[in-house]
């Protein structure tokens, strides 16, 4: 690599948090004039790596080199001085201050001890002209769209640091057109010799703009290659940690397809969230939902359950049209949802195991039809026993339970309502192996008992094992469905990686 001296490089970086290795001897290098994609599923170590690069965390071991010289990045300020600028997903600007203020805050041109606004606004205009942005620099930043704010943040970061630019999911909240504008500017910066680190979940964008890609998985380097030399299917297998060559030895159970599909969703969608989709689910079948993070899986679940009301489409249950605008509507239709983010959307931490289990049933029964304490205890005892929920007693606050046991509590909460359709969003994420197997077994059992299930998961093997059909999502749209013997990991991954239908500009 001597012909391409790295602008910024890390070698053998390790970083542990209490009992948990976030980064395990990771190598990563950005060359001048390159856009380098950094990929990985949640918890792969991307953000930890960025935090090490920008001085938020100090590495336990390993070196950071700038122009081949080892440096130790003390803090974010120091990182900026070394030429490393970062733009986070949540734009960290001051919306109620002017564009010029935002560009120059902390380093305003001064005259006689006061900010020289005239000079500052002039410099701001000059700076933004480089980006073909013609804004009123004296008006509040909040007047402009998120996309423009993002560009202002980039302009500021480049102006201050100017060598390496780290972008953390910059396109997450941008539409297609805004993304194009952003990409045009990134290409321009690349030609100026900047090294750009681009974190994203959108694989198409990786191939559209990035020169090189590095994949992290479980804190380790999974691979790094030029995008032109890495087919998409191989990229997907790097991210998911499977190779197509590996034989599948899952215990797939074939179930007869149900004669009628009681739950029918037609053209359901919500703008900026999930493109309209059709979905039919019958009692006694498990529909798996596969796709990378940000592909629209959780968005689908939220629309189905009325957390985010759909703005198009119809729902029919047993042939009758129904309207689902709120979770209460969904529960009344016999739906249940175990959300992806257990901590913020699932458990009520300070309430006891008993109260958490009874909550959905109680909410459904109404305010004045209280489950007596005795009924609650019986219900909670039943589920604690049935699911082997490890807790000293049912009065313990649920926040003291382990992740797997919390997940079981939330499952119990919904099963207590006797749902007809249960939606599970990443039911096995972040739980230990034992609980993992129990939850898979439970999915099988519920399905055998005649429940309709929709299960979202990043674990392809898992989806293959329990799904009667698999829906594959990509770029916030349902892209296809696989059923029967075609449900093998290779097919699912091929579909996740498939080229987009529309030709990109």
């Amino acid at each position: 690599m001597t012909e391409h001296p790295s602008l910024l490089a890390v070698e053998g970086i390790c970083k542990s948090f209490i009992g948990f290795k976030a980064l395990d001897s990771v190598d990563f290098a950005v060359r001048p004039g390159e856009i380098h994609a950094l990929l990985g599923e949640n918890g792969a170590g991307k953000s930890t790596l960025i935090k090490v690069l920008t001085g938020v965390h100090q590495p336990d071991s390993g070196v950071i080199k700038i122009d081949g010289q080892p440096v130790s990045v003390r803090d974010t300020q120091h990182a900026q001085n070394l030429g490393i600028g970062t733009v986070y997903q949540e734009v960290n600007l001051l919306p109620d201050m002017s564009v010029a203020d935002n560009l120059f805050i902390g380093r305003q041109p001064m005259r006689f001890g006061f900010v020289n606004r005239k000079l500052m606004e002039k410099s701001a205009r000059e700076l933004l002209t480089q980006y073909d942005l013609h804004l009123d620099v004296s008006s509040d930043l909040s007047r402009y769209s998120v996309a423009v704010q993002q560009l202002v943040a980039i302009a500021r970061a480049v102006d201050m640091s100017g060598r390496v630019l780290i972008l953390d999911e910059p396109t997450a909240s941008l539409d297609r057109h805004e993304t194009e504008i952003l990409f045009a500017i990134l290409r321009k910066l690349r030609s100026r010799g900047l090294g750009i680190v681009f974190i994203t979940h959108f694989l198409d964008q990786v191939y559209e703009i990035c020169d090189r890609v590095t994949v992290l998985r479980n804190g380790k380097l999974a691979g790094s290659a030029l995008t032109t030399e890495l087919p998409k299917i191989e990229l997907v297998s790097l991210m998911l940690g499977r190779t197509l060559a590996v034989a599948t030895h899952n215990t797939r159970r074939d179930r007869p397809a149900p004669e009628i599909r009681q739950f029918s969703f037609k053209g359901l969608g919500r703008s900026r969230s999930i493109a309209p989709f059709d979905l039919d689910i019958g009692e006694g079948e498990v529909v798996g939902m596969a796709g990378l993070l940000g592909s629209g899986r959780t968005e689908t679940a939220k629309v189905l359950f009325g957390i985010d009301a759909a703005d198009t489409g119809q729902i029919h249950i047993d042939g009758d049209p129904v309207l689902i605008r709120t979770p209460q509507d969904a529960v009344a239709c016999g739906f249940g949802l175990c959300p992806e983010d257990r901590k913020s959307d699932g458990i009520i931490g300070d309430l006891s195991v008993r109260e958490n289990i009874c909550l959905a049933l109680q909410a459904h029964r109404g305010w004045f039809n209280r489950l007596s304490t005795h009924e609650q205890t019986v219900l909670a005892d039943k589920f604690v026993k049935a699911f082997d929920i490890r807790t000293t007693d049912i009065e313990k606050p649920v926040k003291f339970l382990s992740g797997g046991n919390q997940q079981k509590v939330i499952l119990a909460r919904w099963l207590a309502t006797n749902p007809r359709l249960l939606i599970l969003d990443e039911p096995t994420r972040g739980i230990d192996v034992g609980a993992h197997a129990e939850i898979i077994a439970l999915i099988h059992q519920l399905c055998d008992d005649g429940m309709a299930l929709l299960v979202i998961s990043s674990e392809i093997d898992e989806i293959v094992a329990y799904s009667s059909r698999v829906v594959v999502l990509r770029d916030r749209a349902h892209r296809g469905e696989i059923s029967g013997d075609d449900i093998v990991p290779a097919n699912i991954m091929r579909m996740i990686a498939a080229e987009p239908e529309r030709a990109s500009a």
């Binding site: 359950f305 957390i307 709120t326 979770p327 209460q328 969904a330 529960v331 949802l337 959300p339 913020s344 959307d345 699932g346 458990i347 009520i348 931490g349 300070d350 309430l351 109260e355 009874c358 909550l359 959905a360 109680q362 909410a363 459904h364 029964r365 109404g366 305010w367 004045f368 039809n369 209280r370 489950l371 304490t373 009065e395 003291f400 909460r413």
Partner: protein, 338 residues
């Protein structure tokens, strides 16, 4: 709820000890403090006085407890007291019959609460900001109703609510007691207690569980407004007039304080209406004690602050998980070493 009574009592220990201590200090300062006598069919004495004067804050604290448990706060209750006092006084002067006056006043309190509830639940304003609006505007509205003057009245029916008594017990105490019993019964005999705690601890997760948190918040704030109107009637009846500028002034802070002293966290969640009432009694016992002892009333606020610091420190260790934390820590260590 049905949990062992012993824990409830242990949890209440800091407050109970504080109350006993304050009552004892009051006794030292004024030996006749515990004397109670019956005169003209009504109980008199310093202890009765503490409860009687404390009744408006007890009533406010009942509503405030529900609001704070939902992770909110209602700064407007003092102003709503002024508005309802103004309504009661002007309507009485205008000659409306008593039942109409009472119903209208309580209705207005309910409307004020609904307004707050709509801002908080449906427009997602932060409770402190949302209720600040009515806190400021409410006094203005009260002044408009009374046309800037203190409206006095001599309607014995209305005055009875402030100074009358039933079976020897002064009306304010009776009203506060009745409200306490009804509120505690409703909250614990229905699912409301659990659901309020649930949205206070984690509103997002409560929504996912199918709970209609918006409607529940609306009801909570409306109830708080209702309580404020009730307290407003008592205060107006007590002074036989409506003073838009001073009725209920700063009482929202006393109500919040009573709830916090009672052990409900400002971060929402677990609550006890009875403990909030105890908190209100502690605050009033301090006020009365300082007056009786002949200390300059200026000391009142400073002493209040001191007592509150002591109670809160005691709580932050015991109820907010001090012992539970220690136990959990040693518990896990023990398990790990196995």
């Amino acid at each position: 709820m049905s949990g062992p009574r012993v824990t409830a009592l242990t949890k209440a220990m800091p407050q109970l000890l504080t109350l006993v201590l304050i009552l004892f200090l009051n006794y030292l300062a004024f030996p006749g403090f515990f004397d109670i006598r019956l005169q003209d069919g009504r109980l008199f004495g310093s202890l009765i006085d503490v409860l009687n004067r404390g009744a408006p804050v007890i009533i406010l604290a009942v509503g405030m407890t529900a609001v704070i448990a939902s992770r909110g706060v209602d700064l407007s209750v003092g102003a709503v007291m002024a508005v309802s006092g103004a309504i009661a006084a002007t309507m009485t002067v205008a000659g409306y019959p008593l039942p109409i006056v009472i119903l209208a006043t309580l209705g207005v309190g309910l409307l004020c609460g609904l307004w707050n509830g709509i801002l908080v639940a449906y427009f997602d304003l932060q409770p402190i900001v949302a209720t600040l609006i009515l806190m400021v505007a409410g006094r203005g509205i009260a002044q408009l109703i009374t046309e800037g003057s203190i409206v006095t009245f001599n309607e014995p029916g209305l005055i009875f609510f402030g100074t009358g008594s039933f079976a020897g017990v002064p009306m304010p105490i009776l009203i506060a007691l009745l409200l306490l019993i009804v509120a505690i019964a409703v909250v614990r005999r229905t699912a409301l207690g659990l659901l309020i705690e649930s949205i206070g601890i984690n509103r997002s997760a409560s929504n996912y569980a199918g709970l209609n948190s918006k409607l529940l918040l609306l009801v909570i704030y409306a109830f708080c407004g209702f309580c404020a109107a009730l307290a407003g009637i008592i205060i107006a009846a007590d002074i036989r007039g409506a003073d838009a500028n001073n009725a209920g002034l700063w009482l929202e802070l006393d109500a919040i304080l009573a709830v916090v002293v009672g052990g409900t966290s400002l971060f929402g969640g677990r609550f006890s209406i009875l403990m909030s009432a105890l908190g209100a009694v502690i605050i009033q016992a301090m006020n009365t004690g300082i007056l009786l002892s002949g200390f300059p009333p200026e000391y009142n606020l400073i002493l209040k602050a001191l007592v509150i610091i002591v109670i809160l420190l005691a709580q932050s260790f015991s109820s907010a998980g001090g012992w539970a934390f220690v136990k959990a820590e040693f518990g896990t260590k023990g398990r790990k070493s196995q």
